[in-house]
Amino acid sequence: MRNFTKTGLATTVAIVLSGAASAQDYGSFEDYTLRVKLIGGAQYEPLYTLIPEWEAATGAKVEILSRKSHFELDREMKQDIAAGNIDYCVFSNHTNFAPQYDVMTQPLDGLIDADTIAAFSPLVISHATVSGDLFSLPRHSDVSNMFYVKSLYEDEANKAAFEKEYGYALTPPETWAQASDQAKFFTDAPDRYGTHFAGKDEGITGRFYEMLVAEGGVLFDDNWKPTFNSEEGVRALNWFVDLYQAKAVPAGTTNYVWDDLGLGFAAGAVAYDLDWAGWAAYFNGSDSKIGGDVGVALAPKGSSGKRTGWSGSHTFSITKACDNKDAAASLVTFLTSQNAQMIEARAGLLPTRTQVWTDVIAEFKADGNAFMVEVFDIWGQSMADHAFTPPLIAEWGEVSNALWPQLQAAILGDVTAQEALDKAAKEVSEVMEDAGYN
């Protein structure tokens, strides 16, 4: 990840710097110091190189108090809330975690003008809205679709053998049932497995959740009672259990998080990989063993006909305690502007402004980068039609923590899917009860 974001950044940044900022008036906040906490890490940092430009335009200074990974930042936010220790204005947020910080978050309606908000994709704005208030402005979104090794799917011998065994043609999977067949078919352990999945933390919760939705299930009923231990839930979980028990995924997959998956696919260790857009350029680049041999397709459908599309957006929020909300709003607007988003989009991150989608695809076309055009095409459809967030409640983290150890237990074969989900449902009820839902 680090490698591919670095390539070509210097040049793109330079281009943007020369022609930006002047278009919009960001106001004047002479000698004001805006204190911010930002998410750090290779794929997030390039955007911050624009900050000096905002400083020059407004006369304000930006002081970055923290710059850490999402999980560390999350922990820090919670501690700040607990200690009542909020002495900063802007912080990096995420749609799926934003409800947790509601006591410290300033709704943006009125602070950011309606024209600006209208330029964003409506679905993403709705994801950033918690009980009617716009909590944050999205910088980029994410959703997972299929990456697969083209040569495996195009190989005539594979095609013939697959059709003979399963009775239908070998094409990139349209349904998760097909995906399951193909994973087993392509497994040639230990050199290659069919696929792999994030097996712990929010990773497996999210994957289960989207599968649940694709199977036609829901996490909660209208009264916030957990309903994922339904028939649909068992079906969804059994998709993972089945592959694990069939040894079509690496045994260590229950410990994998995103980097293991990305590196594994790039190393040619699996036939297909449901993964985030940010990896696309790296997968198809020269650092990857399968560079030039990567195909992409929409995430498959579940038995309900719905596609998986667990999604979320990285965003910026403003604190209630902020002493200069206009300056804060100005920076947030600046960091999510057309120019700013173009920088992230060129690196393969999914923009949240509709115009950026059009522009970046045009740019890739002009560069003759057919692969990235295809990626943005697929992911664009996915973000427009299939993406959904987890329930936007403050308890999502706790719900996830109650779920994933049980999901693991079922996947590893300690308990059945039904037992695991029943147990998780009981724990989740307790969480919701404590939080005052019923």
Partner: protein, 281 residues
């Protein structure tokens, strides 16, 4: 069994055991000089093909692969925090240890026991309440805040070790010195302190190593380059998407070296201090 075979066997056994002890550490050190590419390759490459200092260059911000981990600040913080808290813990703990060794007072043994037991409270159980109180006091993310905590967690053990040592110094010496016209204070510095030196030294090493290596508390109480210590900084290498194994190994080497040097220098005191302080006291 002939003596000769026996000797060979003992040596062989020793060698194997020492290998198990050293191997994981050596592997880390070796990896610190390799590239991520070489580490991750399958099948494994056993003989390093090109050793490189790039990981260290990146850590210290030279070369083209600059990573955003300010190791020099972390190193400085670790040093300041460990040295200061060790010094304070020795000062406070020695005073306490002396009192327990030389004076009788009501509730002495139970006070001693409870002091010891306070050390057993797991850091993870303390970290949050301390965090909330510290942030109300405004000493979160300061070196002072961490120093205070480390001083406290090192005091009980220091009291224990020094108490044993002071008890070993015969009281007669002290009394003789006072008869010769020394004040009690002078007698302490001239007679008792030098005799208890190795106990104090070993308490010092333990305190230093504890502070230098502590993670559970520091990870909550520090946040920025103002106060983050090396063990906390190690986690900077695990971002949401990447683990930079080679970088982490390089940083691990940086954490180990000072501890290694210190322990090597004072290992004699360490053994003497631990045993006599604890057992004979």
């Amino acid at each position: 069994m002939p003596t000769r075979t026996k000797t060979v066997l003992i040596w062989l056994l020793t060698f194997t055991v020492m290998l198990i002890i050293c191997m994981p550490g050596l592997w880390i050190i070796l990896s610190a000089f390799r590239t991520n590419g070489e580490i991750l390759t399958k099948p494994a490459i056993w003989i390093p093909q090109n050793l490189t200092l790039d990981n260290f260059r990146a850590i210290f911000g030279f070369g083209e692969n600059v990573i955003g981990v300010p190791v020099s600040s972390y190193f400085r913080n670790s040093l300041v925090i460990s040295v200061t808290s060790t010094f304070l813990a020795l000062l406070i703990g020695m005073t306490g240890g002396y009192a327990f060794a030389r004076y009788q007072f009501p509730g002495k043994s139970s006070t001693f026991l409870w002091l010891m037991l306070s050390r057993t409270v797991p850091g993870i159980a303390l970290s949050l309440p301390i965090f909330i109180i510290w942030s109300r006091l405004g000493i979160i993310d300061t070196k002072f805040g961490v120093i205070l905590v480390y001083t406290a967690i090192n005091v009980p053990f220091t009291v224990w070790l020094t108490e044993g040592f002071f008890r070993q110094v015969p009281n007669d010496l002290n009394e003789a010195a006072q008869i010769d016209g020394c004040t009690r204070w002078q007698a302490f510095w001239k007679i008792e302190f030098p005799l208890a030196k190795s106990g104090i030294a070993s308490a010092g090493i333990f305190a230093f190593l504890t502070s230098w290596n502590e993670y559970a508390l520091a990870s909550q109480l520090t946040r920025s380059t103002d106060s983050k210590t090396l063990p906390v900084g190690l986690m900077d290498f695990t971002a949401q998407f990447t683990i930079d194994w080679a970088g982490m190994c390089a940083m691990a080497v940086i954490i180990i070296i000072p501890a290694l040097i210190l322990t090597f220098l004072v290992q004699k005191h360490l053994i003497a201090g631990l045993t006599f302080g604890g057992v004979k006291g």
